[in-house]
């Protein structure tokens, strides 16, 4: 298999891997397999998927550093946009299936509840990243500015993990896993930067 084919296959894999969960969710919804409160199941599923994909997006550049394989860089924008897609779906599911489009309450919860605030902040930070993810915009911005702006993904991920952490009632296994993964990725980034500066 030549280089080009391998990269294309990997991109296809990301496409399938990131869209298949939506098909699965639609299937479960259609057949009533999401339990007694399907809306809540959709909110949880979209949120978890979005956060996992966000962390995977961050992990793609270390993966490239370790393996030297450019496929990771070629698919990074795609997986980042998928993360954004899932997190937007998460917010819409919360507004529609959890709050039933009750705008006064949605506003109230956004203002009053810390975990909602963190979630909304994370998503807002991702908007400029999604908008500037296209090659033409990136070129127009210049590499340095683009690179600085896109470091916001770490802030967004930290806010996302905090969002999950503070809405957890007692079982912190999952938020701890997410937090540890993010910490490892940040640590890698710092060490990598330190080495390259020398």
């Amino acid at each position: 298999m030549d280089r080009r084919t391998a990269i294309n296959l990997f991109r296809l894999l990301v496409l399938v891997g990131c869209s298949a969960p939506a098909l699965w969710l639609g299937w479960q919804w259609f057949y009533g397999d999401l339990g007694a409160v399907p809306g809540e199941a959709v909110v949880h599923f979209t949120g978890k998927t979005g956060l996992i994909l966000l962390l995977m997006t961050i992990a793609f550049s270390p993966a490239f550093r370790f393996t030297g394989w450019v496929g990771f860089m070629a698919a990074r924008r795609q997986i980042g946009l998928w993360a954004f897609f899932w997190l937007v779906a998460h917010m819409l599911a919360w507004m529609g299936l959890d709050q039933y489009w009750d705008w006064p309450w949605i506003r109230r919860e956004m203002v009053e509840l810390p975990y909602i605030r963190y979630g909304v902040a994370a998503l807002l930070l991702l908007v400029p990243l999604a908008v500037t993810s296209f090659a033409r915009v990136r070129k127009a911005m210049g590499w340095t500015a683009w690179h600085w702006l896109h470091r916001l993904i770490y802030v967004a991920a930290a806010l996302g993990v905090t969002h999950l952490w503070i809405l957890t009632r007692a079982d912190y296994l999952l938020p701890m896993l997410f937090a540890a993964t993010l910490a490892a990725l940040v640590l890698f980034r710092l060490i990598d930067a330190a080495i390259h500066r020398q």
């Binding site: 409160v37 809306g39 039933y100 509840l113 007692a170």
Partner: protein, 321 residues
């Protein structure tokens, strides 16, 4: 109120938990085997399914039914039994349904101890024999802002407590659930300090609305709903209604309940349903009725204010949440 302090006992005198539980198992089996050995042919052997036999015979009769949910339709059995918080099986809402078959309810005995004149450990069939069962349809409001309407079958806790003659020093009633990490996967992790413990003030425990439930929708209580015997306190958040009870102690000074111990800012001792006092992380003003879309306004004391508000007369409910 002064904070409860555990009496200090030297480490050497504490029975290791495994030993205690194996003794408990031995005693339970011993009771069953012993009764079966002395009574063959004379009595029903007290081997397995003894309490189920007693209960099923009672469920087959016409039980009085009381609607205490204002005529609202009960939530479907499916929704009641597939969306539960029962952390002994895991923290997911569907974990209890998935893993409930691991709960060993046979044989089952209930220990009643502390400030009572008639303390002891009783097999469940004996407990049931002395109680009149009835159906009670109650609203159930979870602290997580969802609710159900549940047709329980049971008897007032007061009727049980009175039989055991509480002393004048009995100010609180402490309930303890089963502890069996071999079968209850949730107990292998310290999400809460197992076994689950709940506490009521004696007047709350003696209130006629406070129920010990053994059935649901006319049948024996499903495991995930807290079989074989559980508490139902309809004006308090659901976590107060402890499931699978093995021990009831009447005490003068109360220990903290499990959730109170885990996070006292968020889960108060009283935990009365109150739309005006928000949980620190979410609003309690509204609730999601399972099986319905949209939200409902949460009712003061879950709609039982006329019956129970006097218990808290003069108390600052913002402080005693």
């Amino acid at each position: 109120m002064s904070r409860y302090r555990y009496p200090s006992i030297p480490e050497s005198q504490v029975t290791p938990r495994e030993l205690l539980e194996s003794r408990r198992r031995f005693l339970n089996t011993g009771l069953a085997l012993g009764a079966a050995a002395v009574a063959p042919g004379l009595l029903w052997p007290r081997s397995s399914h003894a309490w189920q036999g007693v209960l099923e015979a009672r469920l087959d009769t016409q039980l009085p039914s009381h609607d205490l949910a204002g005529g609202e339709a009960p939530t479907s059995l499916r929704d009641i039994t597939t969306y539960n918080n029962f952390y002994e099986f895991g923290t997911g809402k569907r974990d209890p349904e998935t893993f409930a078959h691991r709960l060993v309810t046979d044989p089952w005995s209930l220990t009643i101890e502390g400030e009572v004149d008639k303390a002891g450990t009783f097999v469940l069939e004996d407990v049931l024999k002395h109680q009149e069962l009835e159906e009670r349809i109650y609203r159930l409001r979870c602290v997580e802002a969802w609710s159900k309407v549940v047709p329980w079958i049971g008897f007032p806790l007061a009727n049980l407590l009175k039989r055991h003659e509480p002393t004048s020093r009995a100010r609180y009633v402490v309930f303890e659930s089963i502890h069996d990490p071999d079968n209850l996967r949730g107990q292998r992790r310290s999400v809460l300090d197992w076994p689950y413990r709940e506490v009521l003030r004696i007047d709350e425990a003696m209130h006629p609305l406070t129920l010990l439930a053994v059935g649901l929708y006319g049948e024996i209580l499903p495991n995930q709903s807290g079989a074989p015997i559980r508490l139902v306190v309809p004006w308090k958040y659901g976590f107060k209604s402890i499931k699978s009870i093995m021990r009831i102690s009447l005490v003068e000074e109360r220990p903290p309940s499990s959730w109170e111990e885990r996070n006292p800012e968020e889960y108060g001792f009283y935990a009365n349903v109150n739309p005006q006092v928000d949980h620190p992380r979410w609003s309690q003003a509204r609730e999601r009725r399972i099986g319905e879309s949209g939200r409902r306004e949460t009712l003061m004391f879950n709609g039982y204010a006329d019956e129970v508000a006097h218990l808290y007369a003069g108390m600052d409910l913002q402080r005693h949440y």
